[in-house]
Amino acid sequence: MKHKIKYIFLVLMAVISFGIQTTYAADDDKAKAEVKYTDATLKLSFDTTGGKHIIATVMAKDPSGAVVPVKDVTVVIQIKKSFGMLPVEGDNMATDESGTVTVNFPKELPGDKEGNVTVYSKVDADAKVGDLETQSIVKWGIPAEIENTLNKRALWAARANAPISLVIAVNLMIALVWGTIIFIAFKLLTINRLGKNEKTIKSKV
């Protein structure tokens, strides 16, 4: 009987202490989780050492007011294009201890006429910092060479832009043939005139 009570007491103590530990641990975690970050910011920067890299940095103010980098925040980096956002992937898209994510800029990506490219970054509903987004323009794109095909001379172009050789050939042939036709048509009028003269001559005779 006494042994049984001892065992029950020991087990009870174990359970209680475990419970206390976990409660305190939870409190610890809660305490950790409860470290409120405020004024979180997401910034993009660009680095050219050893290749072109895009660096996204997440910083926030911790409860003491100091601006600190935030770790383990999943950052999405995309390049803004007309029909969609081109994702730029790296090895690790979660911020490290310095609050940064580094990705390589895509090779041979065209930009606009000057080579500008809009890089867009966001954090989606993160537990620590919530929603963040930012975008930045960098001149790392290949300058776009846009050929305006409207003024090119081609067989498929508008009629004003037909190939010169075709225009010359066709117009030359039309001029030669129709010139001859018109010449002969005038000759017919000559026949008429000659006939009139002949008639007057005959009538005089």
Partner: protein, 452 residues
């Protein structure tokens, strides 16, 4: 003194002599006979039915035909190609035979030219019939693109039409004067026409010189133009990628076929005209014999091009090309294909090689068969290719896998053929079939050579 007068008279041209009475009796246009009237009424009925069919096409659109998205060209286009082919005969007889100094062509020239003019007129009309929006025809002249083979076709057809009209009209001038002077009993409007179009022709030497020079210039000009007209028409097909059309051979192939078909058409019309107007004295068996030999030559050339056109791709049997050839050789179009090649090409060649084959009646029958064969040959060029596109026809109603022209298409096509024949008949009602002044010249030349 006498010899001077003789040379002066010679230079003055034939008109200074009186036209022999027998020529006037035989060759001047005659009154409408009963059979002539029946024929005219028959043609007008066919034209009327075609007109009614065309109105239904204008109201509902081209949906009244059996053309659909795949067979988007049908018998209107093959009929167009046929007409352009026939019209080449004008240049053949007027120009080629003239420049090669072939003497026996004289009675046939005008017949050939009016066939050419009638054919080219209806080629233009049937193209308008084929347009989805015919009221926009003027777009071709205001917005025309010089890069398009259709524009090239418009230009050459217009030019060829003009030159053919001139080649019909200028040699007609002296005869118009004869009609004006001799047909004093004709209707008032006819007399006015003769007077107006005769351009005060007074048989002066200078007038004759203009006529002869003009004919010579036009004869030279029309030959490259005739070659162009059918080459450019063939390029409507050859400038596409389609199996059966993507051929470098199309220009010469079409031109050879055109000369053959046109020659046969002239023989057929000449026979009918000869019988109807009683012209056996002027258009003799010898003429048919010569034309028969010419037709054999042209048919052999066309046979040569046919062999090239079918044997060479047949040797290779590329995918889509092979499917199209199979349809022609052993498939849906085999009966039509082999009829055209055997009845329309091989048998005529064989028959015409014999002298009895070139007698008027046999050659007339052969020529009609050749012309019918030529019409179906153009259909064989247009339709099977369209039924074998690169992407096989799928997901469309069953009827879209075949092309069977509707009654409207047949009616309109028949009306166009009737219309061409009608123009020819009207022409011969008003003007001499055989050129009077040229016949006189020939007689003079013969008597001269006999004197010497």
């Amino acid at each position: 003194m006498n010899s001077e007068i003789v040379t002066a008279e010679k230079e003055a041209g034939i008109g200074h002599h009186e036209v022999p009475k027998d020529l006037l009796k035989d060759l001047l246009p005659k009154k409408l006979t009963k059979s002539g009237t029946i024929w005219m009424v028959f043609l007008l009925i066919i034209i009327g039915i075609g007109g009614y069919a065309y109105i239904s096409q204008l109201q509902k659109g081209l949906i009244v035909t059996d053309m659909r998205d795949f067979t988007s060209w049908g018998i209107y286009i093959s009929n167009f190609v046929f007409f352009v082919a026939i019209s080449l005969v004008g240049s053949l007889i007027s120009a080629v035979l003239k420049l090669t100094d072939v003497k026996w062509r004289t009675p046939l020239v005008r017949i050939a030219e009016i066939i050419a003019v009638a054919a080219i007129t209806f080629a233009a009309l049937i193209i308008i019939v084929d347009m989805g929006r015919p009221e926009r025809f003027w777009h071709l002249f205001v917005y025309g693109r010089i890069q398009s083979p259709i524009m090239w076709d418009v230009i050459v057809i217009t030019t060829y039409f003009t030159i053919s009209i001139l080649l019909l009209y200028i040699p007609l001038l002296p005869d118009l004067a004869i009609c004006r002077d001799k047909l004093t009993g004709a209707a008032k409007w006819k007399r006015w026409c003769y007077k107006f179009f005769a351009l005060n022709w007074q048989n002066t030497p200078r007038q004759y010189k203009i006529v002869n020079d003009s004919i010579r210039i036009l004869a030279v000009l029309i030959i490259p133009l005739a070659l162009s007209i059918h080459t450019v028409t063939s390029w409507l097909f050859a400038t596409t990628y389609r199996a059966g059309w993507d051929s470098t051979n199309f220009g010469p192939y079409f031109v050879a076929g055109a000369f053959m078909a046109g020659c046969a058409a002239v023989i057929a019309v000449t026979y009918v005209v000869r019988e109807h107007y009683g012209l056996r004295k002027y258009i003799t068996d010898k003429h048919f014999d010569h034309m028969g030999k010419l037709l054999v030559l042209l048919s052999l050339i066309y046979l040569y091009f046919n062999v090239n056109e079918y044997l060479v791709p047949g040797y290779k049997m590329k995918e889509t090309e092979g499917a199209q050839l199979k349809a022609l050789f052993t498939g849906d179009y085999a009966p039509m294909f082999w009829s055209v090649q055997i009845l329309g090409l091989a048998i005529p060649i064989i028959v015409l090689l014999f002298k009895w084959g070139r007698k008027p009646v046999p050659i007339f029958i052969i020529s009609v068969i050749v012309v019918i064969g030529a019409w179906f040959k153009r259909l064989l060029i247009v339709t099977p290719t369209l039924l074998h596109p690169f992407i096989p026809i799928q997901n469309v109603p069953d009827s879209w896998h075949h092309y069977n022209p509707t009654w409207q298409e047949w009616a309109i096509t028949s009306a166009s053929l009737a219309g061409a024949l009608f123009i020819i008949q009207i022409f011969f009602r008003l003007f001499p079939v055989v050129s009077i002044w040229e016949t006189m010249e020939e007689r003079e030349a013969e008597t001269e050579s006999q004197k010497i």
